[in-house]
């Protein structure tokens, strides 16, 4: 692949637990991705604006506070409204199985839960971005 994969990593809501997202940021950099980290306490609007401005391939969101059913759909909705529906939205956190199923139905592409390896997430983003680029070419 010639172009570097660009990923925006974000912490929405009031949750300040950033150990996970920092580990992911380091792993993505080691994997050769271009990583933009928003920092803490971002609203869905701030995240979506940053994603569009930075022209990223994917947005990775970390939520450990239990507010995932509110925040993930809000980000997806804004991405779609701003014609950025091709941006992959994935995330991680303390998210029960039944919520994961519901969120996937709402268009959140992939959710990782505690115990997932950084390798899995790197692999996922690579494949998802490659798949997306292929779709765009066909179109």
């Amino acid at each position: 692949m010639s172009e570097k994969i660009r990923v925006l990593l974000a912490k929405p809501g009031l949750d300040g637990h950033d150990r996970g997202i920092k580990v992911i940021a380091s792993a993505f950099r080691d994997a050769g991705f271009e990583v933009i980290y928003t920092g803490l306490r971002q609203t869905p609007e701030m995240i979506v604006n940053a994603a569009i401005q930075e022209d990223v391939d994917a947005v990775g969101v970390s939520i450990l506070s239990g507010a995932h059913m509110t925040l993930f759909p809000a980000i997806r909705k804004l991405l779609d409204e701003k014609n950025a529906d091709n941006i992959i939205l994935f995330g991680g956190g303390i998210i029960p199985d039944e919520d994961i199923k519901a969120l996937e139905k709402m268009g959140i592409n992939k959710l990782f839960t505690p115990g997932a390896t950084t390798e899995e997430t790197v692999q996922y983003v690579r494949e998802a971005v490659a798949g997306r680029k292929k779709d765009e070419k066909i179109m």
Binding site: G13, L14, G16, R19, S26, G39, G66, A67, M69, T70
Partner: protein, 557 residues
């Protein structure tokens, strides 16, 4: 502990043993022998690893300087540690029910977990609270909520710990106002505030104001409590969150002590007498999976603190030299896979806290990587402590591991590693400077990444995660869900409070608070007047924000 001749003989015998052992060393049960913090551990510890000539000076006796063996002469033989389960969820009514349940089952102290909006100073009906109300703790907006939270629980009868930092003064004021309503004088109110803003900037990241005004709020609170609430522990200087963010044990110890010394220096600079406030400072440490490393950490903590308090800060009262601490088992050591295994992890971790001489203990519930604890999981966590206390026999004697070559050697190493960090922090201009330039945050993030890589390379086995994995595992424990209704209820409740109260009084007290904050009035005193007339937390924070400013973290990765 040993004379020269004995050590010589020990050295010689060790050499001989070393040679004999060589022929068995071809086979290894694991690739590296390291602690959770990544420290290499030797194959064998002998008398040669302990500096015996300084034994009394370093280890000594419990209740005596430098308190390596414990802060009390008799420790658990006189009084067991306080079993204090951190708890809070949903509405104040729901949490009040849980408190009664825990107290009815033998818990001996309360510990309030607030939701994120409360921790960040937003009322439940604020836009930023959307989706977060009651989710990871209980929502408290005004005195009205605090009254419900402690309904049927008299502050005279329990000690209450509150995990609250940036808005700590406001929540303490509400608790004091509840005491007033119960006709309990302030000098009989017992409990602890976390009130440790420095570790928020370093690790947990729940802040409102920048460091300088935040520390002023803390020194005001310390002064108020010295005069009026003498049994209240004003700050619980916390390593817990630093460790959860991924630090090593030595980093947890060093950064926490550095924070503690920063508060002490600030209060001294404020003109307070060290012996007036130091006896009410307490600490809060993590109990991670590496059993002996944790025990060494607690023992080293007491020793370093006592030395500095006596020698550097010239405290005269013995009580000022004591590092008393609460312990919580490591949330970050728990796994979402095979969650029942977490019961076992927690039991070992709790045991290290007890063997390390903790004053109070929280044991995590097995379901905490999935949700807030269900009633059943919370009860099992409490039972774990009761079994340690009454069945294992570990509380029969004081500091039973003293004199172990390994534990004493590890304690010395922990002390030396922490001292190195303390020197480095000082060289870099102090804790606040190290927060602002991201040094502490980076050290922790690097340690966290190293740990994750060790797991992925299988240098570290986590049962059920990277080994002994069960495919298609079904979670068979109950999961607590916070009803979305909580947010609606709580939002309606705070709106109703604003309608029912005397709004002129609220305006007046908030204005007085602004005056105090701009000048050098005691902010806690002014906040107490605000909460008495049902000013909300959000309104009080809003009054202070334009004066104190807001903290914005530069994103550091």
């Amino acid at each position: 502990m040993f004379d020269k001749k004995f050590i010589e003989e020990s050295n010689n015998r060790k050499k001989k043993w070393d040679k004999d052992a060589e022929k068995f060393r071809g086979k290894k049960s694991r690739s590296r022998f390291i602690t959770v913090s990544g420290e290499e551990i030797k194959e064998l510890y002998t008398p040669s690893d302990v500096n015996g000539s300084r034994f009394f000076e370093k280890v000594g006796f419990p209740g005596e300087y430098p308190y390596t063996r414990g802060v009390h002469h008799t420790m658990y033989r006189s009084r067991l540690w306080t079993m204090r389960q951190f708890s809070g969820m949903g509405t104040p009514t729901q949490t009040n029910e849980r408190y009664h349940y825990l107290l009815d089952n033998g818990q001996t102290g309360l510990s309030v977990a607030f939701d994120l909006p409360t921790l960040m100073g937003y009322d439940s009906d604020h836009a930023r609270s959307l989706g977060e109300v009651g989710k990871c703790g209980v929502a408290v907006d005004s005195l009205a909520d605090m009254e419900i939270l402690f309904d049927g629980i008299n502050p005279r009868d329990v000690s209450t710990s509150m995990t609250i930092n940036s808005p700590a003064s406001i929540l303490l004021a509400m608790y004091l106002a509840v005491a007033e309503k119960n006709e309990v004088p302030f000098d009989q109110v017992r409990g602890t505030l976390q009130n440790d803003i420095l570790k928020e900037y370093i690790a947990q990241k729940e802040w409102i104001f920048p460091p300088e005004p935040s520390i002023r709020l803390i020194t005001d609170l310390m002064a108020f409590c010295t005069d009026h609430v003498p049994q209240w522990n004003t700050i619980s200087i916390s390593g817990y969150h630093i460790r959860e963010a991924g630090s090593t044990a030595a980093q947890e110890l060093a950064f926490t002590l550095a924070d503690g010394f920063a508060y002490i220096e600030a209060a001294i600079k404020d003109g307070q007498d060290v012996d007036a406030f130091a006896p009410r400072l307490s600490f809060f440490f993590n109990a991670h999976q590496d059993f002996f490393e944790e025990i060494a950490k607690y023992r080293a903590a007491r020793r370093i603190y006592a030395r500095r308090m006596k020698e550097k800060y010239k405290a005269k009262k013995e009580r000022s030299w004591l590092l008393r601490f609460h312990t919580q088992t490591a949330g970050c050591s728990l796994t979402a896979q095979q969650p029942e295994n977490n019961l076992i992890r927690t039991a070992f971790e709790a045991l290290s806290g007890v063997l390390g001489g903790t004053q109070s203990l929280h044991t995590n519930s097995m379901d905490e990587t999935l949700a807030l604890p269900s009633e059943k999981a919370a009860l099992l966590a409490l039972r774990t402590q009761q079994i340690i206390a009454h069945e294992t026999g570990v509380a029969n004697t004081i500091d039973p591991l003293a004199g172990s070559y390994f534990v004493e050697s590890l304690t010395d190493k922990m002390e030396a590693d922490a001292e190195k960090y303390l020197d480095e922090i000082e060289r870099r201009g102090g804790v606040v400077k190290c927060i602002e330039d991201g040094y502490l945050q980076r050290e922790i993030a690097n340690a966290a990444y190293r740990y994750q890589k060790e797991i992925e390379k299988k240098e570290r086995i986590i049962v059920g995660v990277n080994d002994y994995v069960m495919e298609n595992e079904k979670i068979e424990i109950p999961i607590l869900k916070i009803d979305e209704e909580v947010e609606r209820e709580q939002t309606a409740a705070v709106k109703s409070v604003r309608e029912r109260r005397d709004n002129d009084k609220v305006k007046r007290t908030l204005e007085d608070l602004r005056t105090a904050a701009k000048g050098d009035g005691n902010t806690l005193k002014a906040i107490l007047d605000c909460v008495r007339v049902y000013a909300t937390e959000g309104e009080i924070v809003d009054a202070l924000r334009p004066i104190f400013g807001e903290y914005i973290e530069p994103p550091i990765i």
